[in-house]
Each structure stands twice: as structure tokens, then as C-alpha cells.
Amino acid sequence: MASIARNLRPAVSRLAFTARARTSTWRPSPFGLRAFSATRAAFEKKYTKDHEWVELSDDKKTATIGISEYAAHALGDVVYVELPELELTVSAGDAIGAVESVKSASDINSPISCTITAINSLLEEKPSTINGGPEDTSSAGGWVAKAEVAEVGAQDLAGLMDAERYKAFTEEQ
């Protein structure tokens, strides 16, 4: 048995290696075209310790805000989302709304200082959208609000976690 295993092992590992090589070229890049010259940071979300995320646009003038997959999963079925008022100006950490599940209203805090310019009215009609895609920034997604960001907001980003650090943080929880 052992000798067979010894003969098999190199074959298995060769197969695995080639399989891996094949799939790696097929897997679509998470950032669209693999253009190394594009700034990745623009499309990456940053996370707070309270499980909100913010995604800044290229020009760092507008941002999208929402709650993370981890938070949506912990909440269970969301029955109500309280959205912020338009033109509301907030500092980092200020409450901009709430998410309700199991008779508990959990505040949503803004990750950065900004002024709300748009809210996701889909969440008013169908609160469960936030469970389906809390980090989805498309028009059918569960993002909470879009906002205008000034200098001070862009600086707030420095205190937030990137995806990897956030993942490690949630694993500690």
C-alpha cells in the first residue's frame, strides 16, 4: 500500500499543480481587467469595527456606505431599515440610520465624515435586500447610502480596516 501511495503521490501532485495553474488563469480578477496601472484602492471597501463598510470613488469625492456580510448574517432577517435624511452631514461614527431584526434596532454609524446625497429606497420597500447583498453596490444591492466626501472624510479612511484585516478581525470575534 505504501509503495503504491509513493508512486501515486507525484502523479497526484502534478495533476493538482496543473489543475491549479489552469483555474488560476480562468478565475476572473476581482477588479475587472487586470490592469496593474489602475489604483486598486479605489474599488476596495474599508471596514469599521462596527461592521460598516465604505467604498470611495476614483476621485475620492463620493462614497457608498453599507453594512458588512458579517453584520447582515448576525442580524438575521431584517424587517426594517431606517435610512438617513438627504443632505445630512455627519462625522465619522455618527448614527445615520438603523437596521431592525428580532425586535432589535441596531444603529448604522457612518464610517467617515460625509454628507448624504442618496439613499437606497429599495431597502424601504424590501428590507430583506440587505440580507441578500449587503456589500453589493449595484442598483439592486443592499448598500445603504451614497455620500459626498470632503478632505476630512478622505482622511478618516486611514483609521479603517481593509478587507483582509477586517476578515481577521471578524474571525477573532
Binding site: L75, Y80, K103, S106, D107
Partner: protein, 367 residues
């Protein structure tokens, strides 16, 4: 050196204005938030459980907005319950209407209901010492419900309850529909809890008839007192269970807090001083030295006075005095000597249909 307790509990012995406790709660949440934002500057507050009985109040949750509701409906909520003519002055007061930031819809808090507000960080050190990953929303709500179920299952209370897909604690008697005995509504700000649970011990359930409690049409509210009365009726036994007394309510409070301390913080019965319970008469007592850890200072905890408060609700009922004057009038005014009083009492006993102001049981009009 004495150790700090695991968890603190403040029990209010007297009926409290709801808005006073809300303000106290907001202050404690703020203390917790300060520590969370700047742990080096602000010490970690210990978990705190507030238990109290509120003055009559209808509270709305996050989703409701009393300003969008019909003004006539709000006015009808403020009306006092219909009472007998000999109701004490505090029972003639109406209800306040208050909007809160908790989850859930409309509910009522008032005399006879035990309201429990645990205030602590779900992911804080106190919880993590017992539950490694802390609590999350759903497990916290589950803990609130299970603590209530366990407390009500105590032999001297003997009320079997269950959890359902609707948050809250439900009970029923054979042949009866299920009814909610405890309503639940929580607010979480950075995982700091506030608000909590309202457990009907001997609440006057007529208050609930004006609203759709917790937005569940077709479901009713019940109380420990009502369950006991029904059991007595169904079992046909004499005074099998008796009335719900203050002692029962105190016992229930203590059992609830102990059960919660056990579930959330790993409190054990033998733990020396681990559960520090304080019993106070009102919020102002919390400014005293031994409550220094609350850091109340000059924080305003005054009750918000409703506009509809007139002096009539606090005065003694005038009619009885006039009645006394009519029936017992003597040339000199009120009776001055024991003999006069004795003869007047004798005369009153012979007065048809009216014995010391109460309806005579003989003419069948007694309730």
C-alpha cells in the same frame, strides 16, 4: 481589597416616570460609548440591569412615528382607564405617549408590569469572560426570552412559556389561544444594549386594548395575574393560587436578574458579591455617594411633564367630602368628640344603600 462585582442591578421600588428612567438609561449608554471610543481615558462601566415599574406610558419603536398618527388616536391613548368612583388619585392619571429608539412597535408599560433594561456591551470584557465570542443580536434576544421563561417556570409562579418565531415570551392555557406575557424591544448602539423587556405581572390588560400590541393583530397580551385567575376558574379550586402580591413580583425580579447574570456573565449563586443589587426609591437617590460609579453629577433626570396634567388629578376626590358634609352634618360642622362620631357612625349604618360610601352588598350592585 474588595473585588468589583460582575454585574450591578438597580431596582426601583416605586412607580417611576418613564422619561426619568429613559434619561438615566441614555446616560449609562453614553458612559459605555465613551469607554468604547476611548478605552484609555474612560474606565469600562460594569454591566447594569435596571428593573422598575413605569407610570402608564405607550411607547413607540423606531418604525413608528407618533406625529404621523391620527391626533385623535394619540389623545385617546392619553385618556385614563375608566375607574370606579373611589379610585385613588394616581389611578386617575392618563398615559403618556413616548417615541423611543428601540426595535419593535407599540407597547404599553405601567403599574403591574416589570420592565427590565439590561445595559452593557454585547462584545465587552464582562460577557467575553463567560461567552468567548460575546453575544450577538439574536443570541441576546434569545437570552432575554429564555431568562424570562425560566423565571416564570419557578414553582411558586408556575407559568409554562415558550418562544416562537415572534420575539417575546408566549404562554397559553389548554383550549386558549396563545398570548404574550412579555414584550421585547431592544436598541443597540455599537453593541451597547438599551431597552429590553416588559413582563406583565399584574398589569391592567385593558390598557392594551387600545393598541395592536407589537403590531400583531389577533394576538392578545396576558399577565401572571390573568393566568392565575383562569387556572383557578378552570380547576374550580378555591383560592388555589391566591392573588399576585408584591412578594411575588419581588421574587420574580430577583430570579430574573439572577438567571440573566448566570446566562450572560456566568454568575454563580455562591459568588461573593458578584451580583450587586441596589434597591432605591427614585432616580434622585442615585446621586448619593454610594452610586458614584454612575457618574450622574448634574445630569438632568427630571420627568418630562405631559401637557395634560392638571391639579385635579392630584387632588383628593372632592365628592366624598361633600357627601360627608351632607350626611353627617351637625350644627357645629364636623364631629368634634368621640361620642359624636359614634352616634354618627350608627346613623350612617342605618342609612339605606350606603355604608361608609360603598355600595351595600345586599342590593346586588357590588362588583
Amino acid at each position: 481589597m474588595s473585588r468589583l462585582p460582575l454585574v450591578r442591578h438597580i431596582h426601583f421600588k416605586r412607580v417611576q416616570p418613564f422619561t426619568s428612567i429613559s434619561k438615566l438609561q441614555a446616560h449609562i449608554v453614553h458612559q459605555n460609548l465613551l469607554h468604547k471610543a476611548r478605552p484609555q481615558t474612560y474606565p469600562a462601566p460594569l454591566p447594569l440591569i435596571l428593573t422598575f415599574t413605569s407610570s402608564p406610558v405607550y411607547t413607540f419603536g423606531r418604525r413608528d412615528d407618533p406625529s404621523t398618527l391620527d391626533a385623535a388616536f394619540i389623545t385617546s391613548l392619553r385618556e385614563p382607564l375608566p375607574r370606579g368612583k373611589h379610585a385613588a388619585s394616581h389611578e386617575r392619571a392618563g398615559a403618556e405617549v413616548v417615541k423611543t429608539s428601540r426595535g419593535g412597535l407599540t407597547t404599553f408599560h405601567g403599574p403591574g408590569q416589570l420592565v427590565v433594561y439590561p445595559i452593557f456591551d454585547l462584545k465587552g470584557a464582562s460577557v467575553r469572560a463567560h461567552l468567548k465570542e460575546g453575544l450577538d443580536v439574536r443570541s441576546y434576544v434569545r437570552l432575554l426570552e429564555e431568562t424570562t421563561i425560566d423565571a416564570l417556570a419557578e414553582p411558586c409562579l408556575d407559568i409554562p412559556c415558550v418562544r416562537t418565531e415572534h420575539p417575546g415570551v408566549w404562554t397559553s392555557l389548554p383550549g386558549q389561544e396563545s398570548a404574550k406575557i412579555a414584550a421585547l424591544g431592544v436598541h443597540l448602539r455599537r453593541n451597547i444594549t438599551s431597552y429590553g423587556l416588559g413582563l406583565n405581572v399584574n398589569t391592567d390588560l385593558r390598557w392594551f386594548e387600545r393598541i395592536v400590541p407589537c403590531g400583531l393583530g389577533g394576538k392578545r397580551m396576558t399577565s401572571v395575574g390573568e393566568i392565575w385567575r383562569r387556572k383557578k376558574f378552570m380547576e374550580g379550586r378555591g383560592r388555589a393560587r391566591g392573588r399576585v402580591t408584591h412578594g411575588h413580583k419581588s421574587f420574580l425580579t430577583r430570579r430574573w436578574v439572577e438567571g440573566f447574570a448566570k446566562g450572560a456573565f456566568g454568575w454563580e449563586e455562591k459568588g461573593e458579591g458578584a451580583l450587586a443589587s441596589y434597591s432605591v426609591c427614585g432616580v434622585e437617590e442615585l446621586r448619593r455617594g454610594r452610586f458614584g460609579w454612575l457618574g450622574l453629577g448634574d445630569v438632568d433626570l427630571s420627568a418630562d411633564v405631559a401637557e395634560k396634567e392638571t391639579s385635579e388629578t392630584t387632588r383628593e376626590p372632592p365628592r366624598a367630602t361633600e357627601r360627608e358634609k351632607e350626611e353627617w352634618s351637625t350644627p357645629g360642622g364636623y364631629p368634634q368628640s368621640p361620642d359624636e362620631i359614634r352616634s354618627l357612625i350608627k346613623a350612617a349604618k342605618n342609612f339605606p344603600g350606603d355604608r361608609n360610601g360603598f355600595e351595600s352588598p345586599d342590593d346586588g350592585s357590588a362588583h
